[in-house]
């Protein structure tokens, strides 16, 4: 009886799996085509940046590299304004991230580990302020910073940037701290640790990966910011690389220097791309783990 049934089922299953395999091949081809299509702009960015100018400015573009030249890169790297702006960007981004982590960690600890009156209000404020458009803050911030003598300074920009890095730092760190099992700090308390020792010896080391990941997110956002810096910084020597890139694209002296612009674009993207690729695992899975928990 059983043998008859399985004999009847087997060919059908084989047929189904063959059909499925054929479908997979179709999906694979579609997937590859879409990959090529989506990746093409990035390919074009890199290709343009390493081509000699005569190939870039040509009525018939080359789809494969015919000759390599790093003249576009050396043009940008040897521009003193670029190196100055690079240093500015590094200072602004690093200070913003470190400051946000420092203050954000304490707030995250409070929200993750304690119950207190007004906690939901605090949570709603932290979430709500993340959604205030930067442009709305920019009008009064610009005014206030210039009145405080911080117009056109790195410090002014750092202060402005904290307005968007601090809330999400609190929010993200809170999740990481909440994921450290409470039993661990309870055990430490029972064993006679003080509250501070519990924090210092248990929670801090266990949330270190979270601090790094949150810092990376903050880094990417502060590094990429353009709108605020464009208003707050006017002096060439004080600008960030994002401003450098955009003014490079607009300056008449660089006319149709697409090679230079693409080289500058690549250089500006590299710090972010590297961080992204290192942390992509966390970005893809960790990001949604909670959101679909429902």
């Amino acid at each position: 009886m059983a043998a008859v049934a399985s004999a009847a089922v087997r060919p059908r299953r084989r047929r189904v799996s063959a059909r499925r395999r054929r479908a997979t091949i179709g999906w694979n081809i579609l997937g590859l085509l879409l990959s090529v299509f989506i990746a093409f702009p990035v390919y074009w960015l890199l290709l343009t940046s390493v081509e000699p100018t005569r190939f870039v400015q040509s009525a018939t573009p080359n789809f494969l590299p015919k000759a390599f030249s790093f003249s576009s890169y050396s043009e940008v790297i040897h521009d003193p304004v670029f190196t100055q702006d690079l240093v500015n960007s590094l200072i602004i981004t690093a200070s913003t991230v470190l400051f946000s982590l420092l203050i954000g960690f304490f707030a995250a600890l409070a929200l993750a580990r304690f119950r207190f009156r007004g906690k939901s209000l605090a949570i709603i404020i932290v979430m709500g302020v993340q959604m205030v458009p930067l442009i709305a803050l920019l009008f009064p911030l610009n005014d206030a910073l210039s009145k405080a003598g911080l117009g056109d300074t790195s410090l002014g920009v750092i202060i402005a940037y904290v307005s968007f890095t601090a809330p999400f730092t609190v929010w993200t760190l809170r999740t990481f701290i909440a994921n450290v099992p409470r039993e661990l700090d309870e055990a430490a308390l029972v064993d006679g640790c003080t509250r501070f020792q519990t924090f210092y010896k248990v929670i801090l080391p266990l949330t270190l990966p979270g601090l790094v990941a949150t810092g990376v997110f903050g880094w990417i956002q502060a590094w990429n910011e353009f709108l605020m810096a464009n208003i707050l910084l006017t002096d060439n020597s004080k600008q960030t690389v994002q401003l450098y890139l955009v003014s490079f694209g607009n300056s008449p002296t660089h006319g149709a220097d697409w090679g230079g612009l693409m080289a500058a674009s690549t250089l500006v993207s590299i710090p972010v791309i590297i961080l992204f690729l290192i942390f992509q695992r966390w970005m893809a899975s960790g990001l949604t783990a909670g959101a679909v928990k429902g």
């Binding site: 203050i103 929010w171 999740t175 612009l261 791309i273």
Partner: protein, 327 residues
Amino acid sequence: MSVVNIIEIDDPPSPSPAPARRRLLGGAGREAGLLPYLLLIPTGLVLAAVIGYPLVRLVIMSLEKDGSSSKFTGTPFVGFSEYQKVLTDSVFWSSVERTIVFAGANVILSLLFGLGLALLMGRVSRSVKLILTVVLMFVWSVPTTVSTELFRWLFDAQYGVVDYVLAKVGLGSYAQHDWFADPNQGLQVASFIIIWGAIPFLAVTLSAGLAQIPKELLEAAKVDGASAWQAFRNVTYPFLRPLLVIVTTLSVIWDTGVFNQIYILRQTHPEPGYYTLGIYSYVKAFATIYGNDNYSYGAAMAIIMVLLMGVFMVGYIRQLLRIGSEA
């Protein structure tokens, strides 16, 4: 902006903690009762200074007559006259309309592509999925300044590759075509940039959400003879819905606030045909080259923007809180 908005929000403490736990952590003494507030002070002060104060100032500014031109004459209080000016400004209303159409199209298209790609990633073989993921990660990591300059180059009238390819495949009229002369066409290029930039987040997030759907349910649907669409409608969609609501709301917030992709695409001098709410308020408040820069006008417009966005924000926060309380 921030891709981490969507991070988990489950509230760790259970509704009724054991009394012993409360004594240890909730803190018996007075000191423990104050501790959380002390921990919140630094962030609280900073947020009050960089967000609270500016928002209050924004409201005040919107009620004053204060351009940088009137710096020496003081700032007379003019009540709601700036709002009145904004609301009777035809450029404002055409910007509102443009923002809604532009953002709406971008949200719908990027969600369709993102969801389609996520579904595709569940069907392709492992190696193709890896290729797609790597490509998406690269695209995701490109800053908007860079992607905008890049698309400006792709769509360049003189040497741009898009015009070249279109002419090659027989659309001869697109040879040396200037995409930015007609603002509506220029905004379509901006849409390309925005959708291209949004797809990685959407596809990767939704694909992670799809992976959490129990395989047995989809198999069971198939055994019961459900078509692909029925399986999606009755199994996949209900599972994905909370996540879809979140990414849709985020997309609405991001796409309504789009700035860089238009501003930089037009080389920092967007023509009136490119005005969205963000661009127009920025131009009004800061761009002295347009003649009368007007802070209070920009401020009034920014407040109207915040109020409009507020509707979505409330919905978003409520959704997050609801998921959080279910967890």
